[in-house]
Symmetry: C2
Subunit: 504 residues, 2 copies
């Protein structure tokens, strides 16, 4: 390989290198999508080799020996850069710090350990056998501590914040503690009142299936097209675990269909559409540079939850969508009324499984995981004691105790997969979603009425301008403040829950 | 990027580098498949950027400054290498010579010119307007001459052979001239006798459709599974132009369906299956090194034509497949008899379009293109005179003259796309297919009877051993000689045509 000469314009040279890096990463994103949707089983080792090679190439690009000098020289001359260029340079530095923090052998060890652990975890969960997971998960935890220490030294943060920072740039646990304490102060009480109130109302009637996959697919496509998903720049496919992948110009969202239950899959599609619209709306001129990437997982999750929870589980959208649901499956009767479908989609029930949780109890699942992963990383909780601590926490926070570890501490892939520090972004995203949706409603008169007519253009235009097109121009809180007048807080989320679940 | 230090074991270092190069190329192969099958239209520019970047990275890897020294040192120490390692080193050198022959600006100019020309060609063909293609095609021709000159200097061959060598390593026009002269000596006469004989036989009855796509897909999947296509390591999808892509562990074949004609699409699927089986059978231990790649386009086309023309258009396979065709579409009657379907699949008729040609007239289409592209590259035929020369050649070789250039010199993508030197491999592949199939029949008693029962295992086992697993261990002629006792010749092809079309 050729070591390129340092250019006379170091910033321009950095843009050239990061454009190439972006192309490699975008190629990897499509290959990752293919792996989960199209790839035949027998090709997994082949694909792993391709993706690992692209990762090594990307790592070598970003940690090239002359990169520190290039960055430093560009930063010295930073006065002449535009606002976007300056932000781009800041994001380049950020990428470099993260990539450079870890020695190659630690990166490889983490990849090996998480791949092995994920494999063991699938069996362990199936058999509700935590003990069988313990050795490999301990290996992952040990390595994640080393990763956190190395990144903490590079970033000048605590170990936990260094892990969090990879998913949510600038995210800090001191901030999360405050927000979660505020949530904790009202959520259990609010949950109790919601459950009380629900008891006095008619129980939602189940929708009678079966629901042919093809009809579900057509309904999903129809609705997300209406919302603004652009099939000229994207696809909707099937995977075992729904996700949004691909690139800003080529957004690949996925779902899974269950012929006995379309309602769950449909909301999943609307959720991924929120993620996909964010990607598709990233700033056109910068989407192949670091500053043109999505800001972080908090804003990303805010976009999916805004679409799913704020917009599409609201009565306006249900009023619009219910006739289309009836027509898609040729159904009618009391279960298929707007009122009943809305009741189904806003039913609250403490349960064991995070991904099945309603929006009132979901944050409690997250608080538990956040509390436990911090304790494990700090060495305050031995991994062997996790199942007991989990069950204690469930009793404390949700008032239910799972009958086995498959429904308990084995349910999520995040820890086996190395996603330590990821969990809080779900709930921070929910707070941001409520805050952004409230601001959009205030800024755009008639927003709900438009949604009720299937007109998402006003909402999408507001999100494009205030969130999507901002890319990574500034931090999450700066973007939120510019859009809503305040940094991330719990007030809008609280108001949303009260208005939806405890209306006067 | 880091310039790696020359290792103490130069051959091992080369294997390491070429393994990485292979991973990049395999990633590109999947992305290329996705572009033709899955990618939404709006992503084409994004994808072009990804693929161009991977190409540049691959080019930089192979033309790294220390590569000549590494290759030379490995070749000096070549005495200690195994047979496969030595062949691998030879293929590495070959790759390096081809990649290194062209200056970067010429590669870029060619990419730009062929991309533009292909675009213009689609319109020109639609409008049967050769004049509109002339300027961009002239640009491509000029650049292909420069490419040929540069490669000829590097390879020590003629200009045409240098272009041919990229598709068929070691392929030389002197050899092709001899083979084509031999074909020319009997093919027109044989064609005349076949057409005479056909007149005396019942005309084939058309199969009555429509043929629902889903039924076609199921029938195709059923038959190629029987033949040996492994869906654990491959897929069958739809694209505008059928092709075989992906990797040896992840073979992606495509077709297109026409609800008014399943017979054409089905043979297309069987053709691509032949390509796919070759890829899937490449030597397991070497498929990520140059020596583990398919030998060249002659053997590749031999595998598709052996499957389609030799095996599947033969009466044994038709006897096996016809009941499945009837059942797939719920059909019966005189058109659906084994005899009639076989007549349909072996009907001979001189026509204008190469891709629709039967196996008797197909070589005549190729001879025309071979003759014309050599003349154009040599400067003996001006591009402006191509339509007239084409029509003269069609009259001379096939006795028909296309009514316009869309059915004439505008029909193929190869010249606009830069595929100069490719055409002869089709017919050389047909010769190799006949020669290999005859050898397989001789080596494996009861081969046709097994095919008649849907048992392709004996044929596939023979091909695996004698062709697929050879990878690029030696040249096309060496592989053919080891498999059939003789280098490439016309005798088996002639015997095949006589036995199929002029049985005693």
């Amino acid at each position: 390989m050729i070591t390129p000469k340092i250019s006379n314009d170091p910033y321009a040279e950095l843009e050239r290198r990061f454009a190439r890096l972006s192309a490699v990463n975008r190629a990897g994103a499509i290959l990752g999508w293919d792996r989960s949707t199209m790839m035949p089983d027998g090709a997994s080792e082949d694909r792993a080799d391709q993706l690992a090679t692209l990762n090594v190439i990307a790592h070598e690009m970003i940690t090239a020996p002359d990169m520190p000098e290039l960055l430093a020289r560009a930063e010295e001359g930073g006065g002449s850069l535009s606002r976007w260029q300056a932000a781009n340079l800041r994001e380049m530095r950020r990428s470099w710090v993260h990539e450079n923090a870890l020695p190659a052998d630690l990166v490889q060890a983490r990849t090996r350990a998480t791949t092995a652990c994920e494999h063991v975890w699938r069996e362990a969960r199936k058999n509700a056998d935590f003990k069988s997971l313990l050795p490999t998960l301990q290996e992952v935890l040990t390595l994640m501590r080393r990763v956190g220490e190395a990144k903490a030294a590079a970033l000048g943060t605590t170990l936990y914040d260094a892990l969090l920072d990879e998913f949510e740039p600038g995210g800090r646990s001191a901030r999360i503690d405050t927000l979660f304490d505020e949530l904790r102060a009202f959520l259990p009480d609010l949950l109790g009142r919601v459950l009380e109130r629900q008891k006095r109302e008619p129980a939602p009637l189940a929708l009678d299936g079966p629901f042919p996959v093809e009809a579900q697919r057509r309904l999903g496509e129809e609705l997300i097209r209406i919302i603004g998903f652009d099939f000229h720049h994207g696809r909707l496919d099937v995977s075992a675990h729904p996700f949004t992948g691909g690139t800003a110009d080529d957004v690949r969202i996925t779902t899974r269909y269950d012929e006995t239950d379309f309602a769950h899959s449909l909301m999943g599609v609307l959720h991924e559409t929120g993620h996909g619209l964010y990607e598709a709306g990233l700033p056109r001129d910068w989407r192949r540079q670091p500053v043109g990437n999505a800001r972080g997982m908090v804003l990303h999750e805010s976009q999916s939850l805004l679409m799913e929870m704020q917009a599409c589980r609201g009565r306006s959208f249900i009023d619009f969508a219910a006739p289309r649901m009836r027509s898609a499956f040729g159904k009618g009767g009391p279960a298929w009324t707007e009122a009943n479908i809305h009741r189904l989609y806003t039913h609250v029930a403490p349960g064991f499984i995070r991904v099945d949780a309603d929006e009132v109890t979901y944050p409690l699942h997250i608080m538990l995981r956040y509390r436990l992963e911090r304790a494990m990383l700090a060495g305050d909780l031995a991994l062997a004691d996790l199942p007991g601590a989990w069950n204690d926490g469930m009793r404390d926070l949700l008032g239910v105790v799972p009958p086995d570890d498959a429904l308990g501490c084995l349910q999520d892939i995040h820890w086996p997969d190395g996603g330590w520090g990821y969990f809080p972004t779900y709930t921070l995203g929910a707070l941001a979603a409520a805050q952004l949706f409230a601001a959009a409603r205030q800024a755009v008169p008639g927003l709900l009425e438009a949604i009720g007519k299937g007109d998402f253009a006003p909402l999408l235009a507001w999100l494009r301008t205030n969130v999507h097109a901002q890319g990574s121009i500034s931090g999450t809180d700066e973007i939120l403040t510019a859009a809503t007048g305040a940094p991330l807080g719990v007030a809008a989320f609280k108001a949303h829950l009260e208005s939806r679940y405890l209306p006067a």
